[in-house]
């Protein structure tokens, strides 16, 4: 069985020099920048601004709403559910599809923002490195999830599956290890079902622990029942009910 090494990532932001001052240039930019730019602009707010209590919004939606004043279009971009996309390519195509109908309205398609309010495409270079946390079993895994930095959760549940464009059976690294190495398929499926974008990163930790902790309890119960230790009355019936619940 492989141990799970908790990794984290640091982003170095590169400027591409590609800028847009209207929807036409914005569309062109979206088509030509590389995938790490699409990733950067759709995930930056989520990763860095959750402490402001703001609803995570992509840079794209933010610029279209605040600077182009195209509220409906911004809403269209913001409402794309990032979880629906297994690859950055799919996400890019979806954003382009939201913009495309605006071509029919040349005055809005060509209308420029005032100087200084242009959109500047950037991209991320990810430096990926291990933390000190490792897990060899479920118990250690839960303890690590309780204490790792939120950037670790971000890396394993969002960045690695999406940015690294690894489409696979399990949606994220945690599920892959729980299912593949520990054989806990039910638990792995529950972890895979968590929506990592639903709340901020501390909220994500909470969601994760809410799935993991009951499973730890159930495994303890299974162990007791497997040893057939003498238990009676209320304890016995509780254990049997719990067992049935699995």
């Amino acid at each position: 069985m492989h141990s799970f090494v908790f990794m984290t990532s640091v982003q170095s932001v590169q400027l591409t020099g590609v800028r847009a001052s209207n929807l036409a240039e914005f569309h062109d930019g979206l088509e030509k920048v590389d995938g790490s730019s699409i990733y950067h602009h759709t995930h930056r707010f989520y990763r860095t601004h959750s402490y402001l209590g703001a609803t995570p919004l992509s840079d794209f939606a933010f610029w279209v709403r605040e600077n182009l004043r195209e509220d409906a279009l911004a809403e269209g971009i913001a409402s794309l559910d990032l979880r629906d996309f297994d690859t950055i390519r799919d996400l890019r195509n979806a954003i382009l599809a939201v913009l495309a109908p605006m071509r029919e309205n040349p005055s809005r398609w060509e209308r420029r923002v005032p100087p200084g309010l242009e959109f500047h495409f950037s991209r991320s270079v990810s430096l990926i490195l291990p933390t000190h946390q490792r897990a060899h079993n479920l118990e250690e895994f839960i303890r690590a999830v309780e204490r790792v930095d939120t950037s670790c959760l971000y890396y394993h549940l969002i960045e690695a599956p999406l940015h690294l464009q690894e489409t696979r059976h399990w949606r994220n690294d945690f599920s892959a290890w729980l299912g593949g190495s520990l054989g806990l398929d039910t638990l792995a499926e529950s972890v895979a079902a968590i929506d990592p974008y639903r709340r901020d990163l501390e909220g994500l930790r909470e969601d994760l622990l809410n799935v993991l902790r009951p499973s730890r309890l159930r495994r303890m119960i299974d162990n007791i029942l497997a040893r057939q230790e003498p238990v009676t009355g209320v304890v016995s019936s509780f254990l049997r009910r719990s067992k049935g619940g699995e």
Binding site: V5, M7, T8, V10, Q11, S12, V13, Q14, L15, T16, G17, R19, D34, S36, T48, Y51, L52, A54, P115, G116, E118, H120, S122, R123, S124, V125, S126, L127, I128, L129, P130, T131, H132, V148, D149, S151, H163, L164
Partner: protein
């Protein structure tokens, strides 16, 4: 006296602290040299003074070198600085000659010091050293602290010619990016929360500082801290103050500044500010000597509103300092300021003298709202603009430059 790296642990948390140390492990023993044009005055020298010891403590041998200038060289680089900010100021042949001569002279002086694998040049003044001193296998990084979003084209063409052979360039704002052959990185500057300018000080010290400068602690205080420079628009600050003063007569204004050794223009601006202030006893123009950091700290903490009325900015670390001290900030939407002052979230972003006056009045009338924004502002700085994040991004940048062309760099498992 710089603080040891461990002192930052309680401010940034153990995870971030350990992460920086882990990144540094991958650069341990690789010598780096940074070069700029002054050891005191201005934000760059201030950052380097605090950052260099920290990076050394992390096991990366980092030296800091300063070029030697002369008056006609500094006059040229100031003209270049203004022109990069967009002012139509041509560079004369005499100026270009002064630049070349001083660059040659410094290349002689620094040829051994710059014989290191990573050479990190801050701003245009020392940028020409690459022509003489570049060696096989070295990586040269150009760090531009200037707002070059809309430069006077001849000035940018000159600078481009000087820096286009660098391996990477670094800017403080996405809009500063230019079409150049090398990768361009975004790194925001930072403040040191443990330096004299930003560390906590006692109420007693603040009170005594106000007394020393004859300021009334019971009346609202508007403050702009900036070197005396047209681009900081001190006269615009005085105009805004006068608009507020009409209906809120209790307000006092402090314009606290000084001169930097590489800025010959600053000595000419001060008399103009004093003239504009006239005989108003509530306008206090404080020409502070270098190393007045504790006084600036106290003045910022005592301020009801901190202003940054700049017409152009690289980044405006004075805004960062004020946000870190949880002060309400009114600042112009120029350069790197909108990265710090998120309108309606961490402060008040304005575009004119009138807007500045209106925002000041709003803060005076709605102190609870201003306090809530100021609280957000402090957290925003903690997450994004402290020296530890800056160190982390520079170390990451070094690793990117040493691994060119990669989008993902794996540092062990």
């Amino acid at each position: 006296m710089p603080s040891p790296f461990t002192s930052y642990r309680r401010i940034i948390g153990p995870s971030e602290h350990d992460l920086i140390a882990r990144i540094a492990e991958h650069l341990r023993g690789r010598p780096v040299v940074m070069v700029n044009s002054t050891r005191d005055g201005g934000g760059v020298a201030e950052i380097l003074r605090n950052m260099v010891p920290l990076i050394n403590e992390l096991g990366i041998p980092l030296n800091w070198e300063v070029i030697e200038g002369r008056p006609d060289f500094y006059a040229m680089t100031k003209t270049l600085h203004n022109a990069l900010h967009g002012r139509e100021e041509p560079l004369t042949e005499g100026m270009l000659r002064a630049f070349d001569e001083v660059t040659e002279r410094n290349a002689d002086l620094l040829k051994d010091a710059l014989d290191r694998p990573l050479v990190f040049i801050h701003d245009p003044q020392p940028a020409g050293l690459i022509r003489r001193l570049r060696k096989e296998g070295q990586k040269w990084i150009f760090r531009c602290h200037v707002d070059v979003s809309s430069p006077y084209p001849p000035a940018w063409e000159f600078l481009r010619g000087v820096v286009e052979s660098y391996d990477a360039s670094v800017f403080s704002h996405p809009s500063f990016a230019q079409r150049m052959p090398m990768p361009q990185f975004l790194v925001s500057p930072s403040i040191d929360p443990l330096a004299d300018k930003n560390r906590p000080v006692s109420d007693d010290f603040i009170r005594k500082t106000l007394e020393r400068y004859r300021l009334d602690p019971k009346r609202p205080l508007l403050t702009q801290v900036s070197r005396f420079d047209k681009l900081k628009d001190p006269l615009g600050v005085i105009q805004a103050y006068r608009m507020v003063k009409k209906s809120r007569p209790a307000v006092q204004l402090v314009l606290a500044g000084g001169a930097a050794s590489d800025d010959p223009e600053s000595v000419h601006i001060l008399p103009a500010i004093q003239e504009a202030a006239g005989k108003d006893p509530d306008i206090h123009v404080l020409d502070l000597p270098p190393f007045s950091d504790l006084d600036i700290n106290a003045l910022q903490r005592a301020s009801t509103v901190v202003l940054q009325k700049s017409l152009k900015e690289g980044f405006a670390l004075t805004v960062t300092e004020a946000l870190w001290k949880e002060r309400p900030v009114v600042a112009m939407a120029v350069g790197g300021i909108p990265l710090q002052v998120l309108a309606g979230k961490t402060g008040y972003l304005v575009h004119s003298v009138e807007g500045t006056a209106a925002a000041i009045r709003r803060i005076l009338d709605h102190p609870e709202e201003a306090a809530a924004l100021a609280k957000n502002g402090k957290e925003h700085v903690r997450q994004n603009f402290l020296i530890t994040r800056h160190v982390k991004e520079y170390l990451s940048l070094f690793l990117c430059v040493l691994n060119p062309g990669k989008s993902i760099i794996e540092l062990g498992r």
